[in-house]
């Protein structure tokens, strides 16, 4: 019999999907300003209205989630900033795994592997940068100086390039890469099989079986 372990609770999965959809909308409506050739789509500023609606959802969703899931939030933030020598080993072994399907050299991983944790860190940092620079551009449009607003655009775009490229990688690994099957299940249904957990999240699986883990 296949045994399943819970990886992501329902609130976490809902936050993931709400945030992902709002970010994709922000990505596309922002792209028309980044690519001069697409500027024509932004005419009559209807893309700006959509961008702002999605931005409101992007900011409000975690504000609702955090106080209701305080433990999972703390655990998540702590995890984003815990790095060890195993991460270097993971980065070295990753190309052989993702290109050739060879898992031999992959060091044991926690609830998130090095790549997932790197993306998670970028989500946190870029989320803060997007929010601050975006709110300044939105609400201080007439009061801030031109130089300040231009630097806000600059940092908004730096975050956009970094998070946007990583978003493509995230979607690719979650949906398209031939080896990724359980990662998708973990964020869709919330569970992964215990065999997969043992193989790919050994450190986390140990915590789960000891009953010590805090759910994420």
């Amino acid at each position: 019999m296949r045994q399943e372990v819970e990886k992501y609770s329902k609130p976490t999965r809902i936050l993931h999907w709400v945030h992902l959809v709002s970010f994709c909308v922000l990505f596309l409506t922002g792209l028309v300003l980044f690519v001069p050739g697409l500027g024509i789509i932004a005419q009559d500023s209807w893309t700006r209205v959509i961008h702002r609606i999605a931005a409101a959802i992007f900011i409000i969703a975690p504000i609702i989630y955090i106080p209701l899931n305080w433990k999972a939030t703390l655990r998540g933030i702590k995890e984003a900033f815990s790095w060890s020598a195993d991460d270097i080993g993971w980065l070295k072994a990753a190309p052989r795994y993702y290109f050739l399907g060879d898992e031999a050299g992959m060091p044991p991983q926690g609830a998130m592997n090095t790549g997932q944790r790197l993306w998670w860190l970028i989500v946190l940092v870029s989320g803060v940068v997007f929010t601050i620079t975006g709110l300044v551009m939105w609400f201080a449009k007439t009061t801030a100086s031109a130089a300040v607003l231009q630097w806000m655009v600059f940092f908004h775009d730096v975050a956009f390039i970094l998070a946007g490229a990583m978003l493509l990688l995230h979607i690719y690994l979650g949906v398209i890469h031939p080896l990724m099957t359980e990662a998708w299940k973990s964020i869709y249904k919330g569970t992964i099989s215990s065999e997969y957990a043992k193989k790919h999240h050994a450190k986390w699986y140990k915590e789960v079986t000891r009953g010590k883990e805090v759910k994420s």
């Binding site: 290109f99 399907g101 390039i161 493509l168 990688l169 890469h177 031939p178």
Partner: protein
């Protein structure tokens, strides 16, 4: 195009106009970097897909062959 008959200061215009650093940083640095990063990401993912799919199919065939 406008031609000024006198010194720019007479018209209240900047004497030595400069392009803001933030404009240069956006137009000459961030824009091209964005194109390169975006392009390389898409190419890299496409390349990974082709290589990974071919390898994983080969592994599967090997396994199937070993089983039969």
């Amino acid at each position: 195009m406008y031609v000024l008959d006198d010194h720019p200061a007479v018209y209240g215009l900047p004497v030595d106009p400069q392009i803001a650093a933030s404009t240069i940083a956006w137009q000459d640095v961030i824009q091209p970097i964005g194109w390169v990063v975006g392009g390389l990401t898409i190419l890299g993912l496409g390349f990974n897909y082709l290589v990974a799919r071919a390898n994983i199919n080969r592994e599967k065939e090997k396994k199937d062959a070993a089983r039969s």
